[in-house]
Symmetry: C2
DNA sequence: ATGTCAATTAATATCGATTTTATTGGAGGG
DNA sequence: CCCTCCAATAAAATCGATATTAATTGACAT
C-alpha cells in the first residue's frame, strides 16, 4: 500500500521515527527549551498518529530532553546555567572513569576502531555539520566503549546529548570556529593509542572544560 | 461514576498506577529477570487498558528495569554478575561525589531532615519490610539531596533501585539479618552531622561494599 | 473594580478496534 | 531426515474516538 517513496526508506517504526525526529528538533533548538509540546501539534508536524508521538515523548523523558508534567502533558526540558554546569561536572567525572577503564582494557581491535572513527570524523568535518556532529559523538563514544560498562556508557551518551544541546543553543549550531578542535582530538587519540591514561584523561577533560567555559561565558542566568 | 471504593483512593492516573505496580513487581522479583512482558497478560493483571500498560513499560525502560526489543515488545531487564558489579562501581563513584557535595552545602535545615528521616527509618524497621525499604531509600537519598545536583541525584536513585532488585532476588526479600545495619546507618548519619566528609563517605561506601560482597558471593554466573 | 465561581473550551489520558509484524507449525521438496 | 517455504496464529504497533481533566472565559456578587 504505502509505496515507500521517501528518500530514507527504513523508518523501523512510527514511534522510532518520531523519537529520532523529536530528539533532533530538541537538540538543535528547533523546539526551544521549556516549550509546551502538544500532541496534536506534533502529530501534524510529524504526520503520524497520537500514540507514536506520545510514546516518543515518553522515551525522550528518559533522556531528560522532555519533561512530563503530571496530567498536563509534556514540555521540552528547560535549560539553565546550573544545569549546564552539572552536566559538565558529571561528564568529567563519568568520562574519566570510563576512559581509564577503556584504556585498561585496551587491545589492538580497540585501537583499530579508534583510528577508524577518528578518520571518519575528520572526513565528516569537511561535509555537513550534522554529519560531523554524528561522527564526533561516535568518536567520543569509541574512546569510552572499551570500558565495557554499559550503564556508564549510557550515562555518558545521555550527558553528551544534553551538552550538545547547549552548544546548539549557544551558537545556533556547532561553534568550532575559534579553537583548534582537530588538534585536541588528535592529542586525545594519540594518548589513548599510547595507553597513557593520565594524559588521555587530561586532554579529554581539558577538551570539555574549554568548551564549557566558552559556553558558560555566553549564558546569562 | 467510578465510586472509588478502593482502599487507597488516589491513583493519580492509570499510567502512573501501572508504572508503580510494575516497578514493584520487577524490583521484588515477582516478575523475574528476562521474562517476556506481554501487554495482554499485564493488562489483565493490572486491570487497565493497553495504553497505560504500554506507557508504563516505556517509562520503566528509562529506569533500565525493562528492555524494549525492537518490534517484539518488552521484557524485564536481565541480571548478571557483571551488571551487578557495574551498579556497585557506579554507585560508589556517584554517591561519593553526591555525599561530598551535600556535606559541602550542609546547613541546619539539612541536618534536621537527616535526623528526621533516620528516625522514620528506625521506626519503619519495626513495621513491615516494604515500609522499611521505602524509608531506607528516603534516608539514603536525604544524605545526597543537599548536593543540589538533580541529575546526579536521579542517577543515584536509579542505581539504588537497580541494586535493591538484586537484594530481593538474592534473598527473596531484604536480607538484613546478619549484619548490624542500624549501626552502619548511625555511623553514616553521625559523620554527616559532623560535616566530616571523609568519614561519611568511608562509612557509606563500606556500607555498600559489604552488601555488595555478600550479594556477589551468592551469585553464580 | 476585583475576586470567585460556573460554564465553556482545549488538551490530555484512555479505550476498543484495526493494521502490521513476528512467531509457530506443518507440508512439500531436497 | 533435515531444510525451506507458506499458511495460521499470536502479539505488537497504530489509529480514531471517547472520557477525563485542566485551562479559560465571562458573569455575578461584593
Amino acid at each position: 500500500m504505502d509505496v515507500m517513496l521517501d528518500t530514507e526508506g527504513k523508518e523501523k517504526s512510527a514511534t522510532h521515527g518520531a523519537y529520532r525526529r523529536l530528539r533532533d528538533m530538541i537538540l538543535t533548538g528547533e523546539l526551544p527549551p521549556g516549550q509546551k509540546l502538544k500532541i496534536e501539534q506534533l502529530r501534524g508536524l510529524l504526520d503520524t498518529g497520537a500514540s507514536p508521538v506520545r510514546e516518543a515523548l515518553s522515551l525522550l523523558t528518559s533522556d531528560m530532553l522532555v519533561e512530563r508534567i503530571d496530567q498536563r502533558g509534556f514540555r521540552a526540558a528547560p535549560v539553565s546555567k546550573s544545569n549546564f554546569e552539572e552536566i559538565l561536572l558529571l561528564r568529567c567525572n563519568l568520562e574519566e572513569t570510563a576512559l581509564r577503564a577503556s584504556i585498561a582494557n585496551a587491545d589492538g581491535a580497540w585501537e583499530d576502531r579508534l583510528v577508524l572513527r577518528h578518520h571518519h570524523m575528520k572526513k565528516a568535518s569537511q561535509k555537513s555539520a550534522p554529519d560531523f556532529e554524528d561522527a564526533h559523538k561516535v568518536f567520543h563514544m569509541a574512546l569510552l566503549e572499551n570500558a565495557k560498562l554499559p550503564l556508564l556508557l549510557r550515562y555518558c551518551s545521555q550527558l553528551y546529548d544534553l551538552n550538545i544541546r547547549y552548544r546548539y543553543l549557544a551558537a545556533g549550531g556547532p561553534s568550532y570556529k575559534k579553537r583548534d578542535i582537530a588538534a585536541e582530538h588528535q592529542q586525545i587519540l594519540d594518548a589513548a593509542l599510547d595507553y597513557d591514561a593520565d594524559s588521555a584523561t587530561r586532554h579529554l577533560l581539558n577538551h570539555y572544560r574549554r568548551t564549557g567555559e566558552y559556553l558558560s561565558s555566553q549564558m546569562e542566568s
